[in-house]
Symmetry: C2
Subunit: 201 residues, 2 copies
């Protein structure tokens, strides 16, 4: 299994094939641009056409009230066909700081605002097919300061969830959006008491 020339984490093992003659935009709309693009392996010199959906980066907001409840939203998700319980959030504008975008989305979707946002972390949402990253930010002392002001196509309901209930809600699937779970687990494990999940399976 040894690789005598292991790839450098900093330098990708595949590079875009020079002239782009084999690349194509399959679909472009208000939400994303779907591209097929040819890359060449520096290791094998083989080429392969990869599909990538170019989508804006996104942010999830772990918003905590003074009495240790999370401000969450429930909304329809077409990929699952179900309504999903998630931290509020949304897409970043080009070049926008996720803390700024998160604060805006929190206020618009829920009417809550709190202390200055702290960035917990950022990861590639699904780098095998999507270009986007997901950031998780934390806003403490969240309080209801306004009514929500939603886009016409946003239909969300706000739910306050005691923080202590979140691990069990992840374990039994009441919270089942992977990127939401990622941010919540990270946040829970960052609290002073750490995180211990139990699995009854």
């Amino acid at each position: 299994m040894s690789d005598h020339n292991p790839p450098s984490p900093a330098f990708p093992s595949w590079l875009p094939e020079g002239d782009g003659a084999h690349d194509a935009t399959i679909e472009a709309n208000w939400l994303f641009r779907l591209r097929r693009a040819r890359f060449r392996s520096r290791r094998s010199d083989r080429t392969h056409d990869f599909y990538v959906m170019h989508l804006a980066d996104a942010v999830h907001v772990v918003a905590l009230t003074p009495d240790d409840c999370l401000v969450m939203v429930r909304q329809f998700r077409a990929g699952s066909g179900h309504d999903s319980l998630e931290p509020p959030g949304g897409l970043l504008e080009e070049g926008e700081d996720p803390r700024e975008a998160g604060r805006r989305e929190l206020l618009e979707e829920t009417g809550y605002a709190g202390d200055p946002a702290v960035l917990l972390g950022t990861a590639w949402s699904n780098p095998s097919i999507l270009s986007s990253r997901i950031a998780t930010i934390v806003v403490t002392n969240a309080r209801l300061v306004a009514g929500p002001s939603l886009d016409p196509n946003e239909e969300v309901s706000v739910e306050l969830v005691p923080a202590r209930d979140v691990p069990a809600m992840i374990a039994d699937g009441r919270i089942d959006h992977a990127l939401a779970v990622l941010g919540l687990l990270w946040w829970l494990a960052s609290r002073p008491e750490g995180l211990k999940m139990t699995n009854d399976r």
Copy 2:
């Protein structure tokens, strides 16, 4: 994360618009089917066209050697343009159990095999745009039993990562594939000692 075949959750707030006259397949290829589909809100009676990329479910394998190292793979990801350090894994065949698919992918990508796989959980990968779910399974006592047998377009290198190093590698971004991080955090928090993340940000 829920059971792999969870009971039907609450009735969704949007339903497919009856006759499908406004739906369309934008792209169909060996990997996915991109659809635009009209739904109608049961709450507002408004309609909206949602985009969904229909993609097979996937599995990540947390494979642990007897000396507490994770068997991981590094491979190019076109969405990020970088090589990504991840648990081995791949797509499920139609109707396949993620434990079976994970065992197969672990062996093919790394040459490792171990104890019968345990399902840690399943979540919707990104239900705002993808139809797929990601399962995480755990294989203990993983030992090198064969050479890898990769598909022609798979170029992966195997890396053994001490389990104790994983939280720091997530915190500083050396492991930055969100769905991989999700599975690893879940697994780490399920160990007897639990998980405590530190954030220097």
